[in-house]
Symmetry: C2
Subunit: 188 residues, 2 copies
């Protein structure tokens, strides 16, 4: 037995999620979270850069996953095709729809958390654009394809967590991509 309980980071994440669900993000202090996890605030900030970040630890992992999938996409794929392949692989990580929904509702209820969510999405977009550059796509084209792809992802993800049925994320993504294609093909 170690001197300390194991998995301090996971305990903090779990305690934070529970408290946020119970009393909301603002009403929960970092000291509350740390106490619930049997630690001190100082230790919280050793694991998370700030109070919000405790909810976004998985975002970096997701981003890496998608970037790898993009790199593995067929070399013959068009930019949007490659982006679609990459986003589709998110379904491999986001398996627990209920947990995603709970996290989404905490984030939706707080402006600061929505901001953080957005910058994570922007980071994802940049990473995907960078991946397209590796495929000799021109800069503006790559950024635009990545931005549009992430826009599709956001819409699809929200539809996926909110749906009454049990459609897979992949299917919702496919439908949303088709919708964008239709929209952009119209004269403008």
């Amino acid at each position: 037995m170690g001197r300390w309980e194991p998995d301090a980071s996971a305990r903090l994440r779990q305690a934070a999620m529970e408290l946020f669900v119970q009393q909301g993000f603002e009403q929960t202090t970092v000291a509350d979270i740390a106490r619930a996890a049997g630690l001190t605030s100082r230790t919280f900030f050793r694991y998370f850069a700030d109070k919000r970040e405790v909810l976004f630890g998985g975002a970096t992992a997701l981003e890496n996953h998608l970037v790898e999938a993009l790199a593995d996409a067929p070399g013959t794929a068009s930019p949007m095709e490659a982006i679609a392949v990459a986003l589709d692989s998110a379904a491999e990580v986001l398996t627990d729809r209920h947990w995603s929904a709970q996290r989404q509702s905490v984030i939706a209820a707080n402006a600061e958390l929505r901001e953080r969510e957005l910058i994570k999405m922007a980071s994802l977009s940049e990473a995907l654009a960078h991946g397209l550059l590796q495929r000799d796509i021109a800069d503006a084209e790559a950024r635009l394809a990545a931005e549009a792809g992430v826009a599709v992802f956001r819409v699809a993800f929200e539809r996926w967590v909110a749906q009454a049925g049990n459609q897979g994320l992949s299917d919702v993504l496919r439908e949303s991509f088709a919708q964008l294609r239709a929209l952009a093909a119209e004269p403008n």
Copy 2:
């Protein structure tokens, strides 16, 4: 003569911009800004919800402008066409390219400011989507068109402030929309 110097809000904005440019956002305290404007921190927070907001006062005005332009777009316009019309009207507000560039560089240098910028863009996207709903566009379609349109706007705006030449924002926007059309038309 009034008891106080006029335009407290404008003085705070100006002092903030100068200090941010000189020493950066983080290195500037709210007390610094207030002192430079001949006021106290407490008064700063009466005008701005938080320290970041002093840079984003114009965002609401821009949003309103675009929403009005969207409402004025021809009823026959397709969703993307209407969005393009609305975004084009931004050129009427964003006339001072140098000021925009200066503001952009302050924002780009700080993660918290980038977050705030993103949520303003998201708010713009929501407002535009809402405007499309008024035109009897289906929800998912409206959100997607708005998201894609704002993605185009972001790319175009950055190109506009960074360019060496003197191309108008309208022209850059038109080019970026054409680029999206080409990207989305490709098989995926």
